[in-house]
Symmetry: C2
Subunit: 246 residues, 2 copies
Amino acid sequence: MPQNSASQEISLSLIKTACSNCNLRELCLPFGLSLEELERLDDLISTRRRIKRGDHLYRAGEAFDSIYAIRSGFFKTDVLLEDGRDQVTGFQMAGELLGLDGICTEAHTCNAIALEDSEICSIPFSRLEGLSREIHNLQHHFHKVMSREIVRDHGVMMLLGTMRAEERLAAFLLNLSQRFTARGFSHAEFYLRMTREEIGSYLGLKLETVSRAFSRFQEEGYIAVQQKHIRILDVNGLKALMTHRT
Amino acid sequence: MPQNSASQEISLSLIKTACSNCNLRELCLPFGLSLEELERLDDLISTRRRIKRGDHLYRAGEAFDSIYAIRSGFFKTDVLLEDGRDQVTGFQMAGELLGLDGICTEAHTCNAIALEDSEICSIPFSRLEGLSREIHNLQHHFHKVMSREIVRDHGVMMLLGTMRAEERLAAFLLNLSQRFTARGFSHAEFYLRMTREEIGSYLGLKLETVSRAFSRFQEEGYIAVQQKHIRILDVNGLKALMTHRT
DNA sequence: AATCACGGTTGACTTGGATCAAGCTAACGC
DNA sequence: GCGTTAGCTTGATCCAAGTCAACCGTGATT
């Protein structure tokens, strides 16, 4: 982003965080709110925080009191077992919410780690509950977001439970592509923010298997890969991989 | 259940469904409500419906307008792919809620099927939203329930992504045992309501693998199995299976 | 009592992905 | 410019779980 970064830094920390002038508003929590409602939501989202690549936004076990909206950047969430095994449970990008897992026990149940320098908006949860008691639209949309998370997880369960390695990776790439598109980026060309190992953990595969599948997709002409740079050359090829049982 | 079943039948259909005199109330949606609040919830849960073993409570694609609390019985939910593959996404028992997946698209995204004759309470969702705008405790508990569902799904993702067959089955049995205990049943002895194939689908395994794992657990003295009847003989043995990487 | 059907068990064999190991690439610090 | 390191690729081998197939047990039907 070649911009006047010095003055940018200053203005960012001075400008009051505001959903009402955020370009992600229609992807994020404020979806469907009126202008007047938006302003009331602004009052509650007072802090925007920078998270450096590699840093934790929160850790499993920490007390929960806020959920977080990603303003910019890219995160992963993972859960750890005592014996050291861990599972990446999701990758989150701008406009998506983090921390919903913490509501049920009042403590976070997973780790959220920035995969690139990111910015997040903190949303104090009890105040969100308060406001959503007053703003019907906000309440309903929040419920939709939680429900969407449940449905998304069912999709991952399907993927882990019934798909073979290449199907999983194809599904993963198509999902990323679709989410980048929704944010106005190219559907066909993007940089992966995560390592092969993190992809593998998410998809229930070893990093070598992920790497081999990338190579095979390239041989077949479905994609062009160079390290983290991906170009999708044949969306239908990838889709076909997923649907017809080999 | 050796009771006066004829009069029982009659009284059941006559008695107005009421959370306030339901013995599951502390496991279910009304958790933590005052008496006065309970009565307001009663007003909204007007219908109790019987679902016969094998019947659908709802199907993927159907319009969503209510969530359901299980009064008695046992359900599974599953999602189907076009090519015929399906994945069981959960097994639900008394006091648990069904249908939360439907909120985000206003259509159900999975099938809910009774695994034994069951009874459910319908909760019209827009009325629930209305009431939870008025009753703080209800709102908060509902959010907790949704969040718990997300956390549960993360657990399943961990299971599918990182565990081997016997670990998965051990985790499954311990989870069932714990949920039966919470409902006042024996933690050590229960009947499975689902087939080996359904267990396998849930755990991402084939039915033969499930069957072999049961046999091995029996050989090792962890459990006694006879068809669907399970007795857990060594909880710690099962727990140990899960924690230390073989 | 005989038949049927469904679900479960067990065995023999196959295979997809894991594991182990070596080498490559790109980015970074000095 | 050169070494170091983290991440990626590729090959060889192995093994857990899948597949295929036969058979068994239980309960329902006649």
